[in-house]
Amino acid sequence: MTSGDHPGETATVSSPPSRGVVALAARRVTKRFPGVVANDEVDFELRAGEVHTLLGENGAGKSTLAALLCGLYQPDDGHIERGGQPVRLRSPREGLARGIGMVHQHFRLVERFTVAENVVLGDPAQPALLRRADIEARVAEIGERFGLPVDPRARVSSLTVGQRQRVEIVKVLYRGAEVLLLDEPTAVLTPQEAEALFTTVRAMTAEGKAVVFISHKLGEVMAVSDRVTVMRGGRVTGEVATAATSARELAELMVGRPIEAEVRRGSAAGGEGDGTEAGPALEAAGVRLVQGGQTVLDGIDLAVFPGEVVGVAGVAGNGQRELAAVLAGITAPTSGRVQVAGTDVTGGGARAARGAGLAFVPEDRLGTGLVPGLSLTDNMLLTRRREFLVNRRAARREMATAIESFEIKTPGTEAAARVLSGGNAQKVLLARELAGLGTGAGPRAIIVASPTRGLDIGAAEMVRGLLHDAREQGGAVLIISEDLDEVRSLADRMVVLYRGRVALEGPTDELTLEEIGLAMAGIQPEGAVAPG
């Protein structure tokens, strides 16, 4: 039903099972930002009682469309229809007044308030004098009805991420939302929490509510949605019924070309045997870290051997970030040892770790990994050994080569790093950190945090390929990420962190999703022996 030339869109023809009337629709809406057409004559239809996924890469325009649908933005052309009537939504508040509620990826809760207080906070429909008991009762009632168990009197500061998300959903339901827009809701959840969310979504649609589900994770899209609208470059490239499509077809609609065979975790020929004999390239022994009175790392033992990829998974805030900082020498551990290629670098700082052969690609690419205000050439020099005078000539040549071989989109080697998109920044980082790999001068161990987070499929593919190559060339790769799919798709071996401890460890192929999920949630399976 749209433009585009990919054969995949023929899928549109199979008309989706219509469950009800059109609850919310965008009719040929266009939204421009300086230099960008974020939405280009986009059509979108949401029926009562359905889950309709907006699928697309970062920058495809799905968040802009969601913003148009909930009133955060106003279309430059075209219009929004609610219940068949054209409406002008001048703010999210007006959207909510018409029963359209958005649950953002980043929560907007006041930590010191209780759940009930947060739910009514800023609600224009509330009387000046709050009747606390009534509110709490209604919050509890909504929670029960949709499978969102929350204690209305609990302070938000005491809630887990998953619970906070429930509060956000209760908040829009409390205000009478009939249409819910969920922006990447599973990004912060454990598999079990995600499954619970899907149950909630189904409970809502069963009551006739309509849900727009925004995601780029094909697996959950297939699991939860009735229909999928795929976007690319600000346009709709296809609308398909989930039952009539496959993950592969959706991926091709997203990318706009056939997907190459996925880069898989390495074959057994990855050289593990040699590596083990050579000893670990990166090793943590009994690493403890106490920060501000809190034990954030509690006796971590970890070893990464040459030629293997180890993944560290866990729900955000369970010590992953701190572990990366300790291993990279940025933070000194309170106790325990860190060795890089057999050299003890504990407490020696980042330079000692690097000197021993460590490379580190941090999660925060622009700002930590790269200095936004410096040129690409200078960023190349950031982690290099420098003499009294800075030698830019070699760095410039190296950067120029990298731009060519990694297809980095930049005005040139002297452009400031801040102009780079996420994918290009990641390529620059990898070019710098992996330089010389396989030769004697290159890194022996590589720590990569959330390597593909926020990247489009093309860039993510390239990053996966680079990490794969690094492993093939005998590098020891440690991937630390909150994205379980990312870890599972890349790692030979997995470690799950929970509250600064290793909660589960084993070869990726031998761990079930359920086991991993329980470990992430801190639940020990019956009879399991606590590892590490």
Partner: protein, 369 residues
């Protein structure tokens, strides 16, 4: 509906030129309105201002004489500010440098040939500035104490120390022959920076130009300068790259202090020729902050901005003697204040852009591409 500031993704080179130039122009426009309200002819006042400072050999050299110390105090501020270290104590470091420089001029000057005597004064003034910046640097680097507070407080200590040395004690610096009003002893003639002929500007100008180039080269070409850039713009990246923030902060503040001290030495060797509290308490150190801000911390721009502000200051007197249009001294003060305010405002617009938005929250991710 409301206005919102958004960070610019890209800063074009011309932003950095437009901003200060626009700031100056806007300040002049505001100044013109102010002048007109007060009954002056803005055209006349501005023409006189320009003529007085920039159209004759005397005017230009007098403007440059004022600009000379401003270049160094501007560099002192710029070196620190670009690292987000707000050393606002260049004023005190200047006094400390003057104390050190005057000592060298008195003690070593008589025994050294000209160029060496001058070098001794300048070197001693650098030491003075370093000593004064050392506590600021140490407390900031290792204890995180606000350099704003310590550098400002030490400015007062330096001020009162200098006054004490001349007014309050029979110190080495005080002229024992001045039995009535206490004065500083004149340094040896060999230790003076010679003027160009009969003009009031002299070799001090050459010194500060060399220093400006040296500071630029230091930041551009050395690893120390590289580290300062990283620490200044991105402390997280510095930690990530294993650059010792404490060491670099220490270095940056000491360099800033050394430059502040050097300004004192240049004033002693070039103009005051003695530890002269009255001739030194001109607010040159504080003015350096303005110079640095307008020049956006660029060494070469600092040379131009210092010349411009030197001219503005120089013209203040000319404006006071305009027949029929006597412009009070407050006007040139007001004008300079306006320039600073607009400069700060322009800085915000270089880094951000103003957008009209309907009430709402952050921009959609869709805009990113």
């Amino acid at each position: 509906m409301r206005l919102r500031l958004e960070r610019r993704l890209e800063q074009r080179w011309w932003h950095t030129v437009i901003a200060p130039v626009g700031a100056v122009l806007a300040a002049l426009v505001v100044g013109a309105v102010f002048l007109a309200i007060e009954g002056f002819s803005p055209v006349t006042v501005y023409r006189e201002l320009f003529k007085a400072s920039f159209t004759s050999a005397f005017g230009i050299t007098d403007s440059l004489a004022i600009a000379t110390p401003l270049v160094v105090t501007g560099l002192a501020a710029a070196v620190a500010f670009r690292m987000n270290l707000f050393n606002i104590g260049a004023e005190g470091q200047l006094y400390a440098g003057a104390i050190g420089g005057a000592w060298a001029g008195l003690a070593l000057g008589p025994h050294l040939p000209g160029p060496l005597a001058v070098a001794a004064v300048l070197a001693a003034s650098v030491v003075g500035g370093l000593v004064w910046a050392l506590p600021v640097a140490v407390f900031k680097a290792w204890f995180g104490t606000s350099e704003i507070i310590t550098s400002l407080m030490l400015t007062f200590v330096a001020l009162y120390l200098m006054r004490f040395l001349i007014f309050g004690s029979k110190s080495y610096w005080r002229d024992p022959a001045a039995t009535n009003f206490p004065q500083g002893r004149k340094i040896a003639e060999a230790a003076e920076l010679p003027p160009f002929g009969t003009y009031r500007t002299g070799w001090g100008l050459v010194v500060v130009i060399v220093v400006a180039v040296a500071v630029w080269a230091l930041i551009r070409f050395t690893s120390a300068g590289f580290d300062m850039n990283v620490v200044g713009t991105s402390p997280e990246a510095a930690r990530y790259a294993g650059i010792s923030t404490a060491r670099v902060v220490l270095m940056g503040l000491l360099l800033s202090g050394a430059l502040g001290g050097l300004a004192g030495g240049i004033e002693v060797a070039g103009r005051a020729h003695a530890l002269d509290p009255n001739g030194l308490e001109l607010g040159l150190g504080f003015a350096g902050i303005v110079v640095a801000a307008l020049a956006r911390y660029n060494s070469f721009a600092i040379l131009l901005v210092a010349a411009f502000l030197g001219g503005l200051r120089n013209a203040g007197v000319a404006l006071q003697t305009l027949p029929g249009e006597r412009v009070p001294v407050e006007v040139s003060l007001m004008l300079q204040g306006a320039i600073l305010l607009f400069a700060i405002g322009a800085e915000i617009f270089v880094r951000h852009r103003l957008r009209l938005v309907r009430s709402g929250i952050g921009p959609a991710a869709g805009v990113a591409t």
